[in-house]
């Protein structure tokens, strides 16, 4: 039994077969797996390892290396706030502090209802529109506390 949807499983099989070394497909597979499942549970790690002919340990090594890959669930909306230099100069740290106050959680925590989680991240390439944050794959730029409240409220309403 696959832990992935048939489409994802199918995609993984094609990915694994498209490199001379199957393990070259590992990082993209982990990202797709995390998109689908929200995180990388042990069953997903085992299935990916089996698909690539690697040990589970080899998969865990890669997960441990990349900070964007996680083995515990995040919130449905994963709020990633940049505090790297451009954002920091334009109030990124205040944005982060505001998110934490508003959601009542610290960095790398998840709200009790599982709706939101916060992560302080490095540069996401939005320096021209700093300060920026990213919710899942959506960008939000030129922020201030009021704008942050609006954004969070929009996601909360989406449920």
């Amino acid at each position: 039994m696959s832990v992935f949807s048939p489409a994802t499983r199918d995609r993984f099989e094609r990915l694994a077969a498209s490199y001379p070394q199957p393990r070259s497909a590992l990082v993209p597979m982990l990202l797709y797996a995390q998109d689908e499942l929200g995180y990388l549970p042990p069953e997903a790690i085992a299935e990916i390892a089996a698909l690539l002919g690697e040990t589970e340990l080899a998969v865990r090594e890669v997960i441990g290396y990349y900070s964007m890959l996680r083995t515990a669930p995040a919130g449905r909306y994963h709020v990633q706030v940049c505090t790297n230099i451009s954002c920091m100069l334009r109030g990124g740290e205040e944005v982060l502090a505001h998110c934490q106050r508003r959601l009542g959680i610290h960095n790398r925590q998840t709200t009790p209802d599982g709706m939101f989680s916060i992560e302080e991240v490095e540069c996401m390439g939005a320096c021209a529109w700093a300060p920026a944050l990213q919710v899942n794959y959506d960008f939000h730029q030129e922020l201030d506390p009021a704008k942050v409240d609006e954004i969070l409220e929009k996601y909360r309403r989406q449920g």
Binding site: G53, E56, L57, A58, R60, E61, Y65
Partner: protein
């Protein structure tokens, strides 16, 4: 020593590459083969370049930055471990810049390394300690608090202390590349990097301890040894491992006569870097509380009671004299874990003093059949000597055919050497087996038999014209790049299109094949194998795999009912006369009973006395207790085995680690060792045999291993080995092939134990550590 082929050519080396490149280090002009690493070239010239992460024959890491050197015309310092020597290169290893770099490297490595050397197991034999002493600074600029993490226990034998780890990744590499187990990895990154076991909080692996051995600091420590002593309080005695037939050197750490650990400290035995779980941890059987400390004699009430040595020995010889006077039958069963000298003296006692050829041992390889086949013109034709390969020859072999057996489980050193040859010398390994053994992963081609036996397949290979090609009999498995083995089965094996024909055709393309075979081949099948080997081009050599530390020695020393030492037939008058002259007494002419026949004779009440030395025959061939009453049974062993429990007299013996002497490994490499541990109350088997002989009126002389070995060298085929080599701690290959040995008529007596990595007959049963590792119980 067989000649060793020259170093393997560098892969895809240009044909016009010069034989040597010349370069200058600290003003000295050096030469080395192209492709040589600078660190190796310098070390070969006695120029010290410190390193932590560099380890010979493992992949390169360049993680520790300790080997930085100055190379002219390159602005930054270079890591000598990844720099390849080049023509005209000018290197400086002792400049102020290099010294400063080393000092910084040590300072950096020590940022988070706890200075708990006084309680660290590695203290006193720690590379970081030595390097800090030699190259380090007295002070550190880092005054931040260190990040502490609690130590983790990964298995009964492996502990990981994370703060001590300097992240050299030697353990990760030796586990993966050397052992092909891949049980260790690296988690996180940067300052948070840590070594990870394969099952998150514990290890599931071969428990070989290579990671502990190779750790330059005290990050990985041994659960079997930790916190027991300091290294400088022990004597370090080189011994030959008492377990499997590979004959690895294990250095015993001995304090006050107690063996506290086995370890591979100086790496100069035939095993090089390697030692397995048994050699490293199995030594604790010597400390088992159930070890016999006193002779026991069965009293009138039927209980075994402790008695003095004098009383026990006299009890035995009194009974034996009575049985001799009544022309009773004696049987002697020898050991596969006594020294050569003891086995030789034991069969001498049997034949010359007790007057019986009922002599045997627990056989696990058909050595007589091999030597018989090699001595025949068909087998010997056009084949130069020696026809036996030593274990080291596997490392440089061009091609190896492995028939039967499972070296990974039963012969870990041979498996290590085969992996080495595959990894570093590009050797072609051909595997013929009924089981999907782990060495498949290194095989160029595996013939996985789905029907029939290895013996059938070998007969077919040797004589293709006979019988139909066994089309359905095998499938070929090509080496998959699959690290998950053995957790998951291999991908569906594909039948070889041409069956064994193709397997043979591929082998016929190879030269100088070493053929390693397991106990599946006996008698005729060994003959067939040698015929097949003789048909291969080049110089074919052989290794027969037998179970125990001195299985080969027991065979060589004549613990056979029909063979004298050196495989000379007892029925042959000239051979008998030779030994009768040497031993000063007659030898009975009729071949005796083998081990099973002796036990059956006990059951028929036809055997009047049975003397069992370091063996447990009743485990293999159970005997009816009632019938034992008419047989006077003497057992000499370390523990009260099934056989000893039935004995009339039990004599406590010392183990191989507690005696001097020689042992012969399964390849035929004779090695010499000195006494390591001691044990109050027990005697060496040789002391006991000599004492019994003396009481029976035969003088075997002083029970001195060197003296007996001189006799063996003079009397036994193939044992005229180089003493220099023995004293240098190297194996000297014994090749007892001259003089046609008769083929043994009892191939059914080859009864291998099929030990796993964690079992080893009697000794294994009494090793607390071997019993503690979970894999012993979780693996089939």
């Amino acid at each position: 020593m067989p000649e060793t082929p020259s170093k393997p050519a560098p892969a895809a080396g240009a044909p016009a590459a010069p034989a040597e490149v010349h370069f200058t280090v600290n003003g000295h002009t050096l030469a080395a083969a192209p492709g040589t690493l600078l660190i190796e070239a310098c070390r070969a010239a006695n120029i010290e370049i410190p390193s932590f992460c560099y380890y010979p024959k493992l992949s390169l890491q360049a993680a520790c930055r300790m080997c930085l050197v100055e190379v002219e015309k390159i602005p930054k310092l270079q890591t000598a471990c990844t720099t390849v020597v080049a023509e005209g290169m000018v290197v400086h290893t002792e400049t102020p810049t290099v010294h400063a770099a080393r000092k910084s490297a040590i300072e950096f490595i020590l940022t988070n390394h706890p200075l708990d050397c006084p309680v660290c197991d590695a203290g006193g034999e720690c590379e970081l300690q030595d390097m800090t002493f030699r190259y380090g600074a007295a002070v550190s600029r880092f005054d931040e608090p260190k990040r502490h993490r609690d130590e983790q226990q990964w298995s009964p034998v492996v502990y990981y202390d994370r703060p001590r780890c300097i992240l050299c990744y030697r353990c990760v590499r030796v586990c993966g590349e050397g052992m092909d187990v891949w049980a260790l990895g690296v988690g996180n990154r940067g300052i948070l990097s840590t070594i990870l076991p394969n099952h998150q909080d514990h290890l599931e692996c071969e428990e070989c301890g290579m990671c502990i051995d190779i750790c330059p600091v005290g990050a990985l420590t041994s659960g079997a040894y930790r916190y027991q002593t300091r290294p400088w309080e022990m004597q370090h005695v080189g011994a030959i491992c008492a377990f499997c037939g590979d004959g690895c050197k294990t250095t015993l750490g001995v304090r006050n006569g107690v063996i506290l650990r086995g370890d591979n400290r100086d790496k100069n035995g035939i095993n090089g870097d390697f030692l397995c779980v048994k050699g490293r941890y199995g030594t604790d059987f010597t400390r088992h509380p159930e070890r016999l400390k006193s002779p026991l004699v069965r009293d009138a009430s039927g209980e075994l009671r402790p008695v003095s040595w004098a009383y026990a020995l006299e009890t035995i010889t009194d009974r034996w004299r009575g049985i001799q006077a009544a022309h009773g039958q004696f049987g002697v069963i020898g050991s596969t874990r006594c020294s050569n000298e003891e086995s030789y003296q034991l069969q001498k006692l049997a034949r010359r003093v007790l007057g019986t050829n009922h002599v045997d041992h627990h056989r696990s390889a058909d050595f007589p059949a091999l030597f018989d086949a090699l001595a025949q013109p068909a087998g010997a034709a056009a084949q130069p000597l020696p026809q036996l390969a030593d274990s080291g020859a596997l490392k440089t072999a061009k091609a190896v055919l492995l028939v039967g057996g499972d070296p990974t489980q039963e012969h870990p050193l041979l498996a290590w050497n085969l992996r080495w040859a595959h990894r570093l010398a590009g050797a072609s390994l051909y595997v013929l087996n009924r089981r999907d053994i782990r060495l498949r992963r290194q095989a160029r081609r595996m013939a996985l038999l789905t029907h029939g036996t290895e013996a059938d397949a070998v007969r077919y290979l040797a004589a293709p014209q006979r019988g139909d090609p066994p089309q359905a009999e095998l499938t070929a498995v090509s080496p998959p790049g699959d690290k998950r083995w053995p957790q998951t089965p291999p991908s569906t094996p594909q039948p070889i299109p041409g069956g064994l024909e193709e397997f043979r055709a591929e082998l016929a393309q190879e030269r100088d094949v070493i053929i390693v075979f397991g106990p599946e081949l006996t008698g005729d099948a060994v003959q067939a194998l040698v015929r097949f080997g003789a048909s291969l081009p080049g110089h074919t050599r052989y290794i027969a795999m037998a179970d125990n530390a001195n299985s080969r020695g027991a065979a060589d020393m004549g613990l056979y009912p029909d063979l004298l030492p050196g495989y000379l037939p007892v029925a042959d008058g000239a051979a008998r006369a030779h030994f009768a002259a040497a031993w000063g007494g007659d030898i009975p002419a009729a071949p005796g009973w083998n081990q099973r026949q002796m036990v059956e004779a006990v059951d028929r009440r036809e055997l009047d006395a049975l003397y069992v030395v370091g063996a447990n025959p009743f485990r293999l061939d159970p005997v009816n207790a009632a019938n034992l009453k008419s047989c006077f049974l003497v057992v000499q062993d370390l523990f009260l085995t099934e056989t000893a429990q039935a004995a009339d007299v039990v004599l406590p013996a010392l183990s191989l680690y507690e005696k001097s002497g020689t042992v012969t490994n399964t390849c035929g490499e004779v090695q010499s060792q000195r006494r390591g541990g001691s044990f109050e109350g027990a005697k060496t088997d040789m002391e006991i045999i000599h004492a019994l002989a003396r009481l029976l009126g035969a003088d075997f002389g002083r029970p001195d291993a060197d003296r007996v070995f001189s006799e063996i060298r003079a009397q036994v085929n193939g044992y005229d080995v180089s003493l220099v080599q023995l004293m240098a701690g190297r194996g000297a290959l014994a090749v007892p092939r001259d003089g046609a040995a008769p083929r043994q008529a009892a191939p059914q007596m080859i009864r291998p134990n099929h030990d796993s990595l964690f079992t080893a007959g009697t000794l294994g049963r009494y090793s607390a550590t071997l019993n503690a590792v979970l894999e012993k119980h979780s693996r089939p």
